[in-house]
Assembly symmetry: C2
Homo-oligomer: 378 residues x 2
Amino acid sequence: MKAEIISIGTELLLGDIPDTNGQYLARKLSELGVDIYFQNTVGDNPKRLSFLLKQALKRSDIVITTGGLGPTVDDITLETIAAFSGNRLILKNKILSGIKKHFRERGLTMPNINKRQAYIPQGATALENKNGTAPAIILEEKGKLLISLPGPPSELIPLFEEKIIPIFKKKFTLKEIILSRTLKITGLAESAVAEKITDLLRLEPPLTLGIYAHTAEVDLKITIKEKNKESAWKKIAKIEKIILGRLGEYVFGKDSETLEACVGKLLRSNKKTISVAESCTGGLISNRITDVPGSSRYFPLGIIAYSNREKTKLLGIPDELIKKQGAVSKEVASLMAENIRKIAPSDIGLGVTGIAGPSGNTLVKKIGLIYIALSSGE
Amino acid sequence: MKAEIISIGTELLLGDIPDTNGQYLARKLSELGVDIYFQNTVGDNPKRLSFLLKQALKRSDIVITTGGLGPTVDDITLETIAAFSGNRLILKNKILSGIKKHFRERGLTMPNINKRQAYIPQGATALENKNGTAPAIILEEKGKLLISLPGPPSELIPLFEEKIIPIFKKKFTLKEIILSRTLKITGLAESAVAEKITDLLRLEPPLTLGIYAHTAEVDLKITIKEKNKESAWKKIAKIEKIILGRLGEYVFGKDSETLEACVGKLLRSNKKTISVAESCTGGLISNRITDVPGSSRYFPLGIIAYSNREKTKLLGIPDELIKKQGAVSKEVASLMAENIRKIAPSDIGLGVTGIAGPSGNTLVKKIGLIYIALSSGE
């Protein structure tokens, strides 16, 4: 089973917005075990879209388009599909009343322009879109499936998950599934991680290992394509064990776990609380900590003492210490950590001070110099 | 002048990572006035890459590939280009010594595997990549330009800006330029914005208006393609004036200006300072304010009083008020704003308290209920 994605929209083609739909569909399709060989992006241009449709339906079993289903003149997906497949666009009264209802429920009258969205290619099936006015359209062409989804992710994602996936599962016997496990690493650079697992990075399908670097993190993704779920997980677990044996302490979590969620889990299981005194990070650290649901159990307080005056006033950092060592110093960071722990009070205090730039560079202390201190009372 | 982009990498094709390079190149090319009709994504597969190269070189003048220039076996871009164009891969000693130098400067010895990156198609030109080991490769084929750039954005972007753009400017007479102006709107939903400018959204090239919705913001982007810069800006200014006439007070900034930068500009020009007392937002507001360079001039202090105890202790909110009105109430938000203003002290105080979820829902106060208070002393 081979699928192909066509993302339609001049704003995508010119790079005004990222093609998050293309990425989402690609990930979902490969999770389902559907092969993808090509993704294409094209503007709101009937001739070029027509060319891509023809090419895609020749080489793939399923073609999914996103975008171009809106009510305005530059939305050309359905009329292009109709022309290409030799079908007329016909008015579907059921769709039209659905669109009218959508506006009515919001206390609005349907603008005339939206009537356009009730015309679909003859022979096609429309799937109701409860989050917008453009339905999803499915057209079968010589055993191949052409699916058109609306561009807004808030409409496309529910339509795909609630309506398209069940159709796939019913229509096709998806023989193989793709499973994956991501191990998340911090504290080691990508190349240092790679060096320790060079042999594993050379694994060939159906079992592969990918390495991806992010800010302060490296992901190792084990992927397997197999018929049997149980044996697939066993094979993944084997690789996971080898990686943990080599990188153990640097692996902080897996799959969608974030560093802050793992920190939160540790705090909760140890029944500890943390408070944060930040300067240059301006609330970023507190915000990441509180992004975790349930963080109110272990995070009582954050103080962003952006000015030196506030460091003295609210965090009790002596004015003389700041004058002597500088606000960006080991001594000030340590005292920030200690004092915020006592002020809250919490079990752990974190103090962060540094030069974030763009100004503040000095001969001795450069932009990027950061002191991070942790006080546990011990 | 027509260009086409081919993004290479199985991790892109399967949706593991977003194709930020494709978007970057598309935006840069259209700013340069180069037309783009297609973007393609393909995996690390020589046969399918070869197919795309052939198709792209037939219909476009410039073909840019990204990715697949690394040292590992799944990096197949150059050998595919060599095979496709009938050239051999030949070892370039200059590139090899550059790669060796790259490692030496980091106190490392070049792993043998990296020697692979010093082989380029015969007849091609290599451009030094100071941020990595893979050079950019340019091959001229019958008057057409095939450019291969490395995948990591930290290598691709400097190479494109410092080396490829100057080549374009020298080699091609780029007759038309594309200019744009984005007006940034907050406080109105996308549909409400659209209603006020329906006529302008129907403008046809070379002068168009696009509408894009983001969280809490709507962008209106005026784009023009013209030969003359001066007359292009005049035409943009005309549309801008019409939009401002209709949406005036909702337009807070333009182009890359952020809401927080505009707030900062207003504070600075009025010589006012602001401090923030946050609860459910957990540092997000302070962090957005301090993300603006120079914000230390107007932001002395933020307090994240996540627990009720801290609201009482640090922000002076009486325990009885919290008990009577609830921590999420108009009264508590107002007092948070007033007290943080006095504590800092600053000219303006902002108080935010609410129920962020996922837990905390009650019959009377639902998840999503937020109180925002501003205290100016007046």
